[in-house]
């Protein structure tokens, strides 16, 4: 005689350590199986888009730091590119290379956090997360040398970066570049071949590529389903057309695929930084003609950039004043989160947080 169960609704969050911020899910279970998920968010809403309307373009850079706070550099870059397009500012080459180096370092740091917490959700308490935090710490120390802050960098300015890198940055970066490939090998030894990880992740939360495209999901989540969509390659911004890199793809579109894509992307980022170091030339990092108060001509601009989590774009409307008339952020975390329900239905309770961690969202960016 089969065991009779009846649906039970559980509130997960908003104050829950595994929801990576203040996020709430109203989950309905049938026994151990998820039959319905309702994501509820907005607890971390700070009104960044509205605040941007009363700040000058340089001041908004500090707001972008606080959107996706584990990937501040890429946020800065995305916003700055949009302002430069709006105001017609051409950055000098050295400024662009420095921005690319910073952004790729940030991509590695963000993927380390994503993978580490994904494994933490999986039950691998301690080892992988601490090992990944160790390498992230090295990157944060590099950022501290570069711009004096570890998380809220505010490194970039319209027209380049605020200042050239200090002399002690380059040897430290070289040490990191020679050290990091071994560290990634270590992670692969530790996790990639692990039978428990495979048993827990293979074939869990599979989404087909058409659903992902229909929901306009971007980033590693889309590439894990085999679709070669990387804005650095498709719509090159900065100098990404001058560097060569592969786009790591996976085909299974499950939790394991999302993990392995991120691991491979870290290697590609290291390659990009090495190519940047080969091509960077001395010179100014910021044009002297850019005024302190930028008054772009009336118009609008949108630049999408490939951030660690997906396509991040800033849509700016200017009315000719010192502050934007409207600022709209296309946040990858929010859009990637929309498929949570489709991914979770039919899964078990234990896979709930694993799947949630594999999407790699950041509540600061979801709610803004």
């Amino acid at each position: 005689m089969p065991l009779k169960t009846e649906p039970i609704t559980i509130n997960v969050g908003p104050q829950h350590p595994s929801t990576h911020g203040v996020f709430r899910m109203r989950v309905t279970f049938d026994g151990e199986e998820v039959i319905d998920v309702e994501p509820i968010f907005g607890y971390l809403h700070r009104g960044s888009e509205k605040l941007a309307e009363s700040r000058t373009y340089t001041q908004i850079v500090t707001l972008t730091d606080r959107m996706d706070y584990v990937a501040s550099m890429t946020n800065n870059m995305s916003f700055i590119l949009s302002v430069e397009k709006l105001a017609g500012i051409v950055p000098p080459p050295r400024g662009v290379w420095l921005r690319m180096i910073a952004a790729e370092l940030q991509r590695i740091a963000s993927h380390l956090v994503a993978t580490g917490f994904f494994l933490q959700d999986l039950g691998a308490l301690g080892t992988p997360l601490i090992l990944m935090m160790r390498e992230r710490e090295t990157i944060l120390e590099l950022f501290e040398r570069l711009c004096g802050a570890r998380i809220t960098n505010s490194y970039m300015r319209p027209g380049g970066v605020f200042m050239d890198a200090p002399d002690d940055f380059w040897p430290a970066l070289n040490r990191f570049l020679s050290d990091m490939p071994h560290r990634i090998d270590e992670y692969e030894d530790l996790i990639s071949g692990n039978e428990i990880v495979a048993a827990r992740c293979d074939g869990v939360a599979v989404v087909d590529s058409q659903t992902l495209i229909d929901a306009s999901v971007t980033g590693p989540m889309l590439r894990a389903s085999g679709i070669d969509w990387d804005l650095r390659h498709r719509q090159p911004y900065e100098y990404y057309n001058r560097v060569k890199f592969n786009r790591p793809l996976a085909t299974t579109s499950d939790n394991y695929a999302r993990y392995i894509v991120r691991i491979h992307e870290m290697r590609e980022s290291l390659g990009i930084i090495k190519q940047c170091l080969e091509q960077i030339e001395p010179g100014p990092v910021r044009p002297e003609t850019v005024p302190a108060l930028i008054r772009p001509p009336a118009g609008d601009s949108y630049v999408g950039t490939e951030c660690p989590k997906g396509e991040l774009g800033f849509y700016l409307v200017s009315d000719g004043g010192v502050a934007p008339y409207r600022c709209k952020v296309r946040a990858p975390s929010l859009i990637n989160l929309t498929l949570l329900r489709e991914m979770l239905i039919g899964d078990k309770l234990a896979d709930l947080f694993v799947t949630f961690g594999s999407i790699d969202i950041n509540m600061g960016e979801v709610d803004r």
Binding site: T62, D164, P166, P282
Partner: protein, 230 residues
């Protein structure tokens, strides 16, 4: 593929890390053994045992602690702003540039600026660090190099009003400016953790380095990088 090989491989990494050096940074102090205590006291280990047996015993039992300062970069944007009063003209560029509007400046005519001559006398110069986010845009805006970021970070307080840095606080504070947006300090090999710059002349003036200077520096960097790799 044998089942369990991946697990064994992962366990190997764990064991390797277990036997490797620890990367945890103890803060604000760490435990030291008898040798560490002797080194911190500046005497030899037998000297410590004979001269200060209580301290030596404490160290053996693991009660002896020494203070640790975490490593910080010279550009670290810290608390405790460094402000040179004689340089400030009261132009309030910093207050206008601040995204949060937390700098309050009140001026009166009849002041003297050491570099620009006649200027405004500063009556109030308050920075509410309780709301400050240390973006350092005020430092970037200062045209006279009067305001610098500090290097301190231990500024915990029980009273919120104590977080407001007044003019008197800023004058009395130790002058350890951060090298953030001040290339002249980076070139003079100044370290905010080793020395203070009480005189404003020591802090120098911000000048954008020329392309020749940048080229020279960059070439020398590359040379040192290659020697490191060798």
């Amino acid at each position: 593929m044998i089942y369990g090989l991946g697990l064994a491989k992962g366990m190997g990494v764990t064991l390797k890390t277990l036997l490797g050096p620890s990367f945890t940074v103890q803060y604000p102090d760490r435990r030291v053994g008898i040798m560490g205590a002797a080194k911190a006291a500046g005497i030899s280990t037998p000297g410590l045992i004979f001269k200060r047996p209580v301290k030596a015993l404490r160290a053996v039992l693991g009660f002896e602690r020494i203070a640790v300062m975490p490593t910080q970069a010279a550009r670290f944007r810290g608390n405790e702003f460094t402000w040179y009063e004689d340089r400030c003209t009261g132009c309030a560029s910093c207050a206008k540039y601040c995204p949060l509007g937390i700098i309050k400046i009140v001026t009166a005519p009849g002041g003297i600026n050491m570099q620009e001559g006649e200027s405004y006398a500063i009556e109030t110069f308050d920075i509410d660090t309780g709301r400050c986010m240390f973006c350092a845009l005020c430092v970037e805006a200062c045209p006279y190099d009067a305001l610098h970021m500090g290097s301190e970070f231990e500024r915990g307080n029980y009273v919120r009003m104590d977080l407001v840095l007044t003019k008197e606080d800023l004058i009395a504070a130790p002058k350890r400016p951060s090298t953030w947006f001040r290339p002249q300090m980076e070139e003079s090999a100044y370290s905010p953790f080793a020395e203070t710059l009480e005189d404003m002349k020591q802090a120098g003036r911000h000048e954008t380095p020329s392309v020749e200077q940048l080229t020279k520096r960059w070439v020398e960097d590359r040379r040192t990088d290659e020697s490191v790799e060798d």
